[in-house]
Point group: D2
């Protein structure tokens, strides 16, 4: 690869904290390094993580003036000569951690999370190492696949990364955020029964349409853990996809069966919220509970999730598509948290 | 339990080899032993195993004058006083191996297979140890649940007993016999893609209706392994449910991906058929294949399968129902092997 | 079994809270129930759990006037006629949860923990259901085997109950209590490297003799988590056997490698101690940590542990043997927490 | 990396079939490619596979005039500028399949086996992709580590690659070849009990010294499967490391417990030997056996094995060291099959 088909890309960078600080830059493209592939990005999907990074509230390292966002789908437009897995024209998405290919995460791979410690994907063109990319099947759209690398892979890892979900198992998902909704859809398409909570009957109605078997409005039923026990004949569910954090973990422990699983994916209820548990250790032991931190997942999870979607026909639920120039609007829309489903930015026209 | 609600049962026994040797006896019922439960049987489903036992061709120990059949569904009509898990009126089915509750099979549990080394279930009433029974959910019928303990549990164990099937995986099932059809339905309801083979386009049409994604007529396509590779872009399938035996194992090894799984459940092609493999050891090693003998499964598998069916709504496919007095007809129908689906005997009216 | 070889047993019961409230009673023996076995108890080993039960500080249900202690070894002296697994003269120990035979714990099995919700083993004779007993190999003594059902099985479950320890892995054990010491010995005999902490150099010296590769005195090195990182080249250990509770969990999270395992077995640092972690959820997620509550283990764990000891020659470390009449002394000795190793009570002479 | 520290290497190549056809060539070194590392090789260990490749009997693809041998240990003498994991002076060994890093083998990785489809390591210098190398701890020698990549990793994969060996388990190893002896040592150092067979009491004596608990001379005890059952109280062993092939698989199936494991690693008894089993399928099913083809293992296995050796102090057993110029002698010595232990070639002086 001696010359690139273009010399620069337009990309968003975070100037300082806040959505208004997002700035569009014209940045020159470097020559491709060994094993790199240049991708023209068509679709970028937003996650709650992107919002707290833009707002300066992320409890981990973020690069200065980072290009935000981790989830994209696009097409290969140039390849370094040493590249063997890809050719121009291939449709691809990328792993959330560029270097987390398989097995257990390690400290080095942690530092390759797109849109945090390294630049992300809210840009027209970006070079990726060839090992970070995953092929998109013909029948899936860019928007659908862009919905997967962060939230979808976290949901997949939560359900299949350790003791895998079996058809017939029961799953509780908290709220209708990105991870929760994709966990609902994955679990339902794999033959599990899903209970979902939300503060809004309208959102619960959407969730029911996406496969939820039971719904709980936690505004009218604040003791949702008791309702979960009632729905499971007093036994508790097999899995709780925990996204609330300190403020919900106690009720999650009350909601699982003895020996159940609590993959911990987020802390959407906020970091400053008091914990709702008494002595956590006693509860974990007496419930023989399994808690597992899920900071994302690896390329294998993404490949398996795409296979799952191809076979089952599950459709990631996209609520709204913004144009590339409307990125600030998209973030503001996300910040209101009134929507259900993925918010995506169409970077280029198909 | 001092007195039983009835004093005898009518039951079939095998006099000597052959369907015509099936005889109906009136047999006195013994007092219940500790931990026993008396079950009124409503439905019995037949398996190919029952046929070769009746015909005297079973390559394992069979009790003299055995009551045939392993799969039933019925209702508790009496319980020994020490029984805690069941009460009169409960709807139940039973584990294929009475004493194989969980974990790995052992030599002792092997000797508790219904309708082989011990008397089976083709009878109006039978006492079972309480630990061998499993509850039937309201929404499932006796016929549906009677279809599961032998063939269904073998299929479930084949798919979930070791490295569990994931949604998105690919499965090849051979033919449309009991295990194959239930493996197809289980895999499809769990989000996997299924390829099925048969010598009959009519049977393949039925299989397609039950969820098969691809079908192969092995009469017109004798090199079905090559067709499987074609359908999987040259990679091979993740699982082959092997039911043919020596005559098909070689093609099964050719059909899996490197590192794939071959649960071995049967030898329907006959024990006298020549093997179709050259040096098996070289093939297993060079394919990094996983072969696993499946002589049935345990109570936990049956419980999980019933949970799966309750949640997914999968319906065991019943092709024909015979009356209790038509048992010989039922076996003859099975022997013709022209049908697809479970053949059941209605022992009592609902 | 119509008549027992004796009519009563002498047993300790807790009158009210405190060691001094332990009272010796002469209690009549009931006729054996179906499937029961009468065991003459030779050895009882004490656990920290027994002490907090005697002192009335146990955070779970305890029967009134309970016979304390869960861990014994003895000999079968009578069997109910229906018993098939045991005969008079067999040397046996018992599962901590009488009804937890295998697989995942459930709420019912939880209620069968010896010396808590039901009467325990600090008695001369006790009837057990046959399924709760495990055979003792010839070469192991009563005292050695009595050391295993609670602490040993918890340690075994912590290391092998989920993702099993591999030879070459690294394990951190906290302190020299019963579970910690047995975890050290099990891990060392299985080819793992062990780091152990204690406030006493003398205790660490004993631990080194039992196989510890590295020792940390947490009095002189209060930041033991940093020392653990130093000893593992900054990576962290594969497993931390967590027995401190809220007061140590934060440092345990800091001590493991990314993706490491923290089986949570106890809260020896006390329930009223402030937690040493900030936002637990953030730490668990960013470390991709695996936390698992260990309320004991099942009969299969006990059988496997006894097999391990038979093959490896590992010797449970017994520090002091008291006579049956010295039970209060034994509890007082345990309460001082100055010892290292198991404290056992010789109930009968060999 | 613009210039290499040297311009050529002396290496053996197979001219045609037979040990005598081995020829020493002076071959120019190419400039390092991206991500490549140049290694000065100090030690090469031989495997039975190398012998049948040299003799032209390998039942898989071999490159024309291939440089034989897969197992080496050496030191980094040059690195391509893009290399991040290695620096000059590092002591390294290499994965048997250069591209099989983790997880399941695939067809592409299969084609990267050293000394077969691609050139091997019987050379003074060789370039490796950086991802194929593994670090050698200070306390291990080049000869010890060179003994591991093919035979040691196969043994490790056989014992830990699927359902992992537990301390206390029983293992049968067949003969005293490279894989068998390393399997014996790994299992013994991990707390398992090992039974070993051989036709020579002298070899069995050596095996006993390396940790075997029981030995069987199959010349004087041809029904070694019956002897295995006797040694395990009629139960059978948990694992048989199957290296004989068709001629021993039947007895291996007879030797395992119900539900046991038979990793299949080789066919040392020859490919033309008749099988010793009747109907394999019936035996596998009725034993609920688990057979798994082991064509080697991945880099993770090699890393774990080196960790195991570092912690346990297990010493690969080296029987004879030849000089680089004595390579033909070394192969002839191996061909006689009278030795026990690894045969290594010292390519350079330490």
């Amino acid at each position: 690869m001696d010359s690139l088909p273009l010399s620069s890309t337009r990309e968003y960078r975070i100037a300082k904290d806040g959505i208004d600080s997002l700035e569009l830059h014209e940045t020159p493209l470097n020559a491709l390094k060994r094993n790199e592939v240049l991708v023209k990005i068509y679709s970028v999907a937003l996650n709650y993580r992107d919002l707290i990074i833009v707002n300066g509230n992320y409890p981990a390292v973020v690069k200065d003036n980072v290009v935000p966002c981790s989830d994209m789908a696009g097409q290969v437009v140039a390849v370094s000569p040493s590249v063997t897995r890809w050719k121009i024209g291939d449709r691809v998405t990328s792993s959330f951690f560029l270097d987390h290919i398989y097995g257990e995460l390690n400290a080095n791979s942690f530092e390759t999370a797109l849109g945090g410690p390294i630049d992300g994907v809210l840009t027209q063109y970006r070079a990726f190492p060839e090992h970070a990319l995953v092929a998109i099947p013909d029948k899936l759209t860019y928007h659908e696949v862009a919905s997967l690398p962060c939230a979808g892979v976290s949901a997949y890892n939560a359900l299949y990364g350790a003791v895998p979900l079996k058809p017939g198992d029961s799953v509780l998902v908290q709220g209708t955020g990105g991870v929760s909704l994709l966990a609902l859809q994955i679990a339902a398409s794999a033959g599990a029964s899903v209970i979902i909570t939300s503060s809004s009957d309208a959102k619960l109605e959407i969730a029911r349409g996406l496969g939820a078997m039971h719904t709980i409005n936690y505004r009218t039923t604040p003791d949702w853990d008791k309702e979960v026990l009632k729905l499971t004949n007093g036994t508790g569910v097999d899995y709780v996809i925990e996204v609330g954090g300190e403020a919900t973990l106690g009720k999650s422990l009350a909601s699982i069966r003895v020996g159940g699983y609590i993959p911990m994916v987020g802390y959407l209820a906020g970091l400053d919220r008091p914990s709702d548990f008494g002595n956590l250790v006693v509860k974990v032991i007496s419930k023989a509970a399994n808690l597992r931190g899920i900071p994302g997942g690896h390329r294998g999870h993404l490949e398996n999730l795409i296979k799952l979607i191809s076979v089952t026909g599950m459709k990631p639920y996209i609520v709204r598509v913004f144009k590339f120039d409307e990125a600030k609007l998209a973030f503001s829309y996300l910040a209101k948290q009134e929507h259900v489903g993925k918010v995506v930015i169409q970077v280029a026209d198909d």
